[in-house]
């Protein structure tokens, strides 16, 4: 395996303060240098991305008086993909008095992350969670309420306390609009300058510091230089490396991958979360996958035909020729087994040729029993909106025939490595939200993505970045560094346009996605990963020889935009596979078939793998730096759902 990467120095200091865990964030806030209010205006910060993390960060930095420039690739900051989050947001408010506390949220998150997250970071996240709810409510986020006028909560993702605040099935949308409105207020106040329809294509590093970005104006095609005293990346996850995922079409890795190429380490790229209840693929043309709430598994029964190749309609398959495989294999939990177990089981039965629907990639989620037991009205009340969404997309009526579901890539826990201050290995480059790796370990709990994005953006980054900026302004940026970054961008665009081959970027992306899904998806083996590592470079080579991008550089050119993103996905995919190959244990969203217990549960190897794998870019292959994970507060244990 050593031919694939080399090992460098371990990371020893994450800059987390010492002392009792509950005091660390207070300590850090106090030790952080303050910036004189009169000087803030002279300090320029670039924020890329306007989702929950980026939007809230840009707004808050603007409120503090910094000179902020914000970028997003969409036509408005309100459209970032945080908007699609359905379930809710966790916070240790303990409004129910059901025994929740900051410590319990911290504990659940560390455990849920399968002991691959940092304790200090997670504790801070739990502490800050309570402020997020206050902030959002004050902004007018219309959370669900009870008749007494107080906020409603529900339990989520197997938590035993009810700590998830929600706004119907559109919590992400409502929280994002709150952040967006705060951002627009700062734009009106002149503290934030917004550039929509701009895509970051390169990071400017000068004298070892992140000093700006090269962006492309997606309307005119103009390549622009923007310099600043610090750069914040809030550009989301990279689930679209699989082509099909629940991410928005535009989600991409380019910003963080470019930063990685310029020296920021990439941590745990292989940690991928797969969601078991998505609407299956219906054909080759499929452009994305749609998630349906996991709550469906509370009343639906999962099954496939007992015989492989049984193509009869569901209604014509008698009871004794159906295999309710989750109930059969996991009698205790049945249809409610954890996400990863449910996902893998679905994959297994489909691999056996027992899948249903187009291409045999789907399993039934049947509500017939629930309807006969509870009545159609009760089922409609509980799941009506989900059934309607399903029918809209598939044209099938789930009241009369079983739904078809299949797992899909949903979230990526990995991302750029950051220290306790959310600063990457490039000084002045901060990374927040899904784009960093910090808080979820190997698996993210439901309703925690929104929490982390907003914690980073509203509360953590605005404090920690001040400490860095207090030493600024950082003076002139080296002209050569800027020119070099710009030329790199221009060369890449020119190259993409000049190949003039015979396949579209999308068709390569689709093929890359299939390689990743088949070989580096829900279940990974040494063999599959090696196969992927063989196929990816070949396909990348072919891409650069044979891709076809029509149109010009100096215009709105969606073919060019996509091609540029696909090019970076190739490189990332390779690193993901190397990371997955090197981590021979299973943990959270990373399942190595070689490492499982008798029940098919992920089997960790704490002795050898209780570390963060931070990868440095190297011309001769990636360089692994290990950051050891110590657990002072939560005792490491093997997850069990029995």
């Amino acid at each position: 395996m050593n031919e694939l990467y080399t090992e460098g120095e371990p990371i020893r200091d994450t800059k987390a303060p010492e002392g009792p865990i509950e005091d660390r964030w207070e300590k850090r806030k106090f030790s952080a240098k303050l910036v004189n209010p009169a000087n803030k205006r002279k300090l320029h910060v670039i924020v890329v991305g306007t989702g929950l993390a980026g939007g809230s960060a840009a707004a808050t930095l603007g409120e503090l008086g910094y000179n902020v420039t914000s970028f997003c690739y969409q036509d408005s900051p309100r459209r970032a993909h945080s908007i699609a989050a359905q379930g809710g947001i966790n916070a240790a408010k303990n409004y129910r008095g059901d025994g929740d506390s900051i410590y319990r949220l911290f504990y659940d998150t560390v455990k849920g992350g399968d002991f691959r997250a940092r304790e200090s970071n997670v504790y801070r996240l739990a502490q800050v969670s309570v402020n997020i709810i206050d902030q959002a409510v004050a902004q007018g986020v219309p959370f669900a309420r009870e008749y007494g006028g107080l906020l409603d909560t529900r339990s989520f993702g197997g938590a035993q306390v009810s700590r998830t605040f929600y706004a119907r099935g559109q919590t992400g949308q409502q929280l994002l609009l709150g952040a967006y409105q705060a951002l627009e207020r700062q734009i009106a106040a002149g503290t934030v300058k917004m550039h929509t329809r701009h895509e970051m294509l390169e990071l400017i590093v000068s004298d070892g510091r992140a000093r700006g970005v090269i962006v492309r104006d997606m309307v005119t095609g103009e390549i622009e230089r923007h310099v600043a005293d610090a750069v914040v990346l809030a550009t989301g996850g990279y689930g679209n490396v699989f082509f099909l995922s629940t991410n928005a079409k535009g989600c991409n890795t380019t910003a963080i991958w470019r930063a990685h190429r310029r020296g920021a380490m990439f941590a745990n790229p292989c940690y991928t979360q797969i969601h078991p209840t998505c609407i299956p693929v219906s054909g080759e043309y499929q452009s994305k996958l749609t998630l349906m709430s996991e709550s469906l598994r509370n009343d639906g029964r999962v099954w496939v035909p007992a015989k492989a190749g049984d193509t009869r309609p569901a209604a014509e398959i008698p009871e004794d020729e159906r295999d309710y495989y989750l109930e059969r294999i996991y009698p205790a939990f049945g249809n409610l087994v954890p996400r990863d177990i449910a996902s893998r089981a679905a994959k297994n039965v489909c691999d056996e040729g027992r899948g249903v629907g187009p291409g045999g990639l789907g399993v039934y989620l049947d509500f017939a029993d629930a309807i006969s037991r509870l009545g159609r009205d009760a089922v409609e009340k509980k799941y009506g909106n989900l059934f309607e969404m399903y029918e809209r997309i598939t044209g099938e009526d789930p009241y009369t025939q079983p739904m078809r579901i299949y797992p899909a890539v949903h979230y990526t826990m990995g991302g750029l490595w950051v220290d306790y201050d959310l600063q990457s290995t490039i000084p002045g480059l901060f990374v927040i939200g899904e784009a960093n790796f910090s808080d979820h370990g190997a698996n993210r709990l439901g309703a925690s993505a929104l929490m982390q994005g907003l914690a980073d953006g509203y509360f953590v980054l605005p404090t920690t970045i001040g400490d860095y900026l207090a030493n600024g302004p950082y003076g002139e940026v080296d002209e050569e560094a800027v020119a070099e970054a710009e030329i790199a961008v221009r060369n890449k665009i020119e190259k993409l346009l000049s190949v003039n081959g015979t396949r579209t970027a999308d068709s390569y992306h689709r093929e890359l996605g299939k390689i990743m899904w088949d070989y580096c998806g829900m279940e990974r083996t040494e063999e599959s990963l090696r196969k992927a590592l063989e196929r990816i470079p070949e396909l990348r080579e072919e891409f650069w020889q044979n891709v076809k991008v029509s149109g010009q550089a100096e215009e709105l050119n969606q073919a060019l935009e996509r091609a540029g993103r696909v090019a970076d996905f190739f490189d990332l995919a390779e690193l993901m596979c190397i990371d997955a190959l090197h981590r021979t244990e299973s943990c959270g969203g990373h399942f190595r078939a070689e490492s499982q217990d008798a029940d098919g549960e992920a089997l960790r190897d704490d002795e050898n793998f209780a570390y963060v794998a931070a990868w440095e870019y190297g011309e001769q292959g990636p360089i692994l730096h290990k950051e050891a994970l110590d657990y002072e507060y939560v005792k490491m244990s093997q997850r069990s759902y029995k």
């Binding site: 808050t60 036509d75 408005s76 900051p77 459209r79 970032a80 908007i83 699609a84 408010k93 709810i133 206050d134 902030q135 959002a136 409510v137 004050a138 902004q139 007018g140 219309p142 309420r145 008749y147 006028g149 906020l151 559109q170 949308q173 609009l177 409105q181 705060a182 627009e184 207020r185 009106a188 917004m194 929509t196 629940t246 928005a248 079409k249 219906s282 054909g283 043309y285 499929q286 452009s287 994305k288 749609t290 249903v356 809209r392 044209g395 099938e396 078809r404 509203y458 509360f459 015979t502 396949r503 579209t504 999308d506 068709s507 149109g551 215009e555 709105l556 050119n557 969606q558 073919a559």
Partner: protein
């Protein structure tokens, strides 16, 4: 599962316009073997891949989440914003709702404050400026009191939510015979004015947002109800009454 009907053949008449200065024209395309399970945008994806391989410019259109929530997509399909299926964004519209051999006309949102950028892509930044004028509650991060310090009646919270579901797609403007942005503006005013947190800025917000809406060049509202009929989120018309009420009060 549904009967896997064989592919449909369609004739598309699509608005093509190279840039804001170009005059633009309708161009006819023939697409064949379209699966009824495709979404409308996937059908355009397939056509675009073909156009790229033929060395043509693909049809530019806005889209992102493709699950009906980001508000980025939007086109006028056969004269109806987002197509004829009610309460549906273009990305959630599926080809099974069209007849085989149908002729489908596809145009961008038409409104002076939404200039065409390219093909079906329009510039909706006017909406952002309306929000900038006052579509927020001024509360800097960290200054908020405990979330339970102000109870909110459930009916108010629910009504505020109904208005807050607006995705800012602009279909209301596209459908309005007057090109009015009243439904969009009113949705935000209603969302914030129904909540106790929104009261201090209620009057100034309504006034500033309505004035910005007018300054952007949107038309006036004549209560035709076309906006709410095409709204993917079904934002109700009474939000406009509330906006008018708040505006008249603020203008006294």
């Amino acid at each position: 599962m549904s009967e896997r009907a064989k592919g449909m053949n369609l004739t598309l008449k699509v608005w093509r316009q190279n840039g804001p200065e170009d005059k633009g024209r309708m161009v006819t395309y023939r697409v064949e073997d379209v699966s009824p399970d495709m979404s409308f945008l996937e059908m355009l994806d397939v056509l675009n891949e073909r156009l790229i391989l033929e060395g043509d410019d693909p049809i530019a259109f806005d889209h992102d989440c493709r699950e009906g929530i980001c508000g980025m997509c939007g086109m006028v399909i056969n004269g109806v914003a987002h197509g004829e299926q009610v309460a549906t964004t273009t990305c959630q519209l599926h080809m099974r709702h069209f007849e085989d051999n149908a002729v489908i006309t596809i145009e961008p949102w038409r409104a002076a404050p939404f200039p065409v950028v390219k093909d079906l892509v329009v510039d909706r930044s006017a909406f952002d400026r309306i929000i900038q004028a006052g579509g927020f509650i001024s509360v800097p991060a960290g200054s908020a009191p405990d979330a339970h310090s102000v109870p909110v009646k459930k009916v108010d919270a629910d009504a505020a939510f109904d208005a807050a579901t607006c995705i800012g797609c602009g279909a209301c403007v596209a459908a309005c015979p007057n090109g009015s942005a009243s439904l969009f503006t009113a949705a935000k005013i209603t969302h914030l004015s129904l909540l106790p947190q929104g009261q201090p800025e209620r009057a100034s917000r309504a006034k500033a947002m309505v004035e910005q809406m007018d300054a952007e060049g949107f038309g006036g509202c004549t209560n035709t109800g076309e906006c709410t009929a095409v709204c993917p989120k079904g934002i109700p018309l009474d939000t406009i009454a509330r906006m008018n009420r708040d505006y008249l009060k603020a203008s006294k």
